[in-house]
């Protein structure tokens, strides 16, 4: 097991601890992106409020903030504190989000766009934060202004050093300060634009955390603002040296390095690291899985594949052949992650088909539905004894090898929702196994975003294609244990088999109700 895999398991264990307290729906680790949006909006709203009262001239900025903070502590003071703490929280969730997506390998294929746009977002967040601290014009602002301008002077792109603007009190002017005010407003707007591009390829992107989580985090920041309000440090004075400063370590964590690392080297490090991050989706290069394929002869244009695709890779367009349907599915190859959820949603992907070849309207080249039926039959053929179970699992969750034991066969899919529900019916009604065990990623955190939810809805009869009512539900079990909680899956499988043993065994070879795929 490689280092990344070990780290991933450790990470999943950490997240599982939060699931125990928050449940899968409220687990903050599953909502990091949405929390980022939430904190962004808090920062934006509080920033607008502060801007109304803020004096944008360098000579009065400090005093105006003092008045906002103290004269109207109940409004302006709280707003200022929320502005700071939500900004800090944004850095926290952004960092965790990045680490998480890397460890869970959710940056490759079409997801490269989300990853790559995340890199400039980091820069924008930090620029917005640094310029924000600048505007307070206290000793910290003075420190930030001098270190930052000295760093930019290392680029030698200015006619004369911009750090000269802070040489002495007589050199201070509104010119630079106004530029920072402008940057502090414009950069967050650019950030918003990139945030929008960041989620462009996701269908139903989560930009709002669950209410409970929003209330919890929002209330925490509010309590923090009341108990520990954000205040200015001593006013800036260019006649003195900001010898000791109280840094916001979320935004200014690199600044102490400037005292030890030459400024040009800091450019090399920061730009180099950013470039490294930009290249990560292709490091190391891997062969990309083939995109889903549409077979027009079997596509009736029902649009279920388009509705279920988590990455907006399928669009419905006017029919291009002579079949009497209005629409046809079209796959955008660049957007397809080859999860197979579309094939799992296709009503023609039924293993009961006998009179015509099992070619569904949309299929995955690396594991066509026909191949899935063959694997199912091959895996179950060797099953013997009581409580025979067929496990369908996804490639990103529980390791199926850990579940293998006498009387249990496994079939792996790219995503659990790539399994058409009719396969469960096929296995049980044909007596190929006494029970079907579905496993994969953790609830609330499907690798392909919506596979678990779509599977749950299909089994519950809430989403097409339904699992037929005739399928005995006591013979179907779902276990969303993820990679790190294999023991949970093993335990649930054992308990499931014990329950099955108490039921009458299914008889192999009892013909299933014959049906031909209806193009409905």
């Amino acid at each position: 097991m490689g280092l990344k895999q070990r780290l991933r398991i450790a990470w999943e264990r950490l997240e599982s601890a939060f699931t125990r307290s928050f449940g899968p729906a409220w687990n903050p680790f599953f909502q990091l992106g949405a929390l980022g949006w939430f904190f962004y909006w808090i920062v934006a709203v509080t920033g607008i409020y502060l801007f109304i009262f803020f004096d944008t001239g360098v000579t009065n900025a400090y005093q105006s903030l003092e008045e906002i903070t103290h004269a109207q502590w109940w409004a302006g003071g709280v707003m200022r504190s929320l502005h700071r703490y939500a900004s800090d929280a944004l850095v926290v969730v952004m960092t965790l989000h990045m680490i998480r997506e890397y460890l869970l390998d959710r940056l490759r294929g079409p997801r490269w766009l989300a990853w790559v746009t995340g890199v400039p977002m980091i820069w924008f967040v930090f620029i917005a934060g640094v310029t924000g601290y600048w505007l307070v014009w206290d000793m910290l602002a003075q420190y930030v202004a001098i270190v930052t301008t000295e760093w930019f002077d290392a680029l030698s792109i200015f006619g004369e050093p911009i750090a000269r603007n802070f040489l002495s009190p007589t050199h201070l002017s509104d010119r630079f300060f106004t530029l920072m005010v402008f940057a502090h407003i414009v950069v967050p707007l650019f950030l918003l634009l990139v945030m929008w591009i960041h989620i462009l390829r996701m269908s139903d992107a989560r930009i709002n955390p669950p209410k409970g989580l929003a209330i919890g985090t929002g209330a925490t920041l509010l309590v923090l603002s009341l108990v520990f309000p954000a205040v200015s440090q001593d006013p800036a004075n260019l006649a003195t040296v900001p010898a000791t400063v109280q840094l916001d370590w979320y935004y200014l964590n690199l600044y102490p390095l400037f005292d030890y690392v030459p400024r040009p080297v800091m450019w090399v490090l920061t730009v180099g690291f950013s470039t490294f991050l930009l290249l990560l989706p292709w490091l190391p290069p891997r062969r990309r899985a083939a995109a889903a394929l549409v077979d027009l002869g079997n596509c009736n244009g029902c649009a279920r594949c388009a509705a279920d695709c988590p990455f907006n890779a399928i669009t419905m367009r006017p029919r291009s052949d002579s079949l009497p349907y209005e629409q046809e599915a079209v796959v955008e190859n660049d957007l397809c992650v080859a999860c197979g959820i579309c094939a799992g949603a296709c009503p023609t992907a039924t293993p009961f088909r006998r009179r015509s070849a099992l070619v569904p309207g949309i299929d995955l080249p690396q594991l066509p539905v026909r191949e899935l039926r063959e694997r199912t039959l091959a895996a179950t053929a060797a099953l013997a004894g009581p409580a025979r179970v067929l496990v369908y699992g996804c490639a990103h969750g529980t390791r199926l090898t850990a579940l293998q034991q006498p009387g249990v066969a496994t079939v792996e899919l790219s995503c659990i929702a790539a399994l058409p529900p009719s396969f469960i019916d096929f296995v049980l009604s044909g007596g190929h196994a006494d029970g079907v065990f579905l496993t994969g990623c953790r609830e609330g955190d499907c690798h392909h975003r919506q596979g678990i939810e779509w599977t749950r809805q299909r089994l519950a009869g809430e989403r097409d294609p339904f699992l037929r009512a005739r399928v005995p539900r006591e013979r179907v079990h779902s276990c969303w244990s993820g990679l790190a909680r294999t023991t949970v899956a093993v335990r649930q499988l054992t308990a499931f088999r014990e329950r099955l043993a108490a039921l009458a065994p299914t008889e192999r070879g009892v013909p299933a109700a014959r049906e031909e795929a209806g193009h409905a």
């Binding site: 002495s168 209330a219 040296v241 010898a243 979320y250």
Partner: protein, 167 residues
């Protein structure tokens, strides 16, 4: 409905989140410079003289020029580098020959240096050469200064104001 233990876990998690955000947004404090010392900053943006003297053009040369571009002198753009020296209590803190900026080397020479020195009384000498002379300096400024801890003393050169200025 979450169990009491789950609620307790949430409360602990939110508390840790709040404390983590609040603490690291201000602590620990960072000492950027020794608070017992003072700082001297030397900075200027000043152009040396032209490397070559202007040459007066002859009547024939001027008459060959397009009417709208006629001028009496032909001057090279390149300037000489500026040499600067800062001495504190007899010790040279900084000595450099600063090339002119710009591709044509026709811009200002720039300096931006800072030095930490002990607080207290110091004798300071700043010298600058911006001419074509090979040795010596065109400007020199001597001063007795008293520096308090954390004081920032800025030394600037402004030819239009007579040379070195101490802020």
């Amino acid at each position: 409905m979450p169990s009491p233990l789950a609620w307790a876990g949430q409360i602990v998690a939110y508390a840790a989140f709040g404390v983590g955000i609040g603490y690291l947004s201000l602590y620990p404090a960072y000492t950027h410079r020794d608070p017992e010392q003072a700082q001297i900053k030397l900075s200027f943006a000043h152009a040396g003289v032209h490397k070559e003297d202007c040459r007066r053009l002859s009547y024939e040369e001027i008459s060959k020029m397009p009417p709208g571009q006629r001028r009496p002198h032909d001057c090279s753009r390149e300037r000489v580098p500026v040499t600067v020296e800062l001495e504190v209590d007899g010790q040279v803190l900084y000595a450099a020959t600063l090339p002119p900026t710009g591709h044509a080397r026709d811009g200002v020479s720039v300096a931006y240096q800072r030095f930490m020195v002990a607080a207290g009384r110091h004798e300071l000498i700043a010298r600058l050469r911006d001419s074509k002379r090979a040795e010596g300096f065109d400007y020199e400024h001597r001063a007795q200064i008293e520096l308090a801890p954390r004081q920032n003393l800025a030394i600037e050169f402004r030819a239009d104001k007579g040379g070195f200025l101490i802020h």
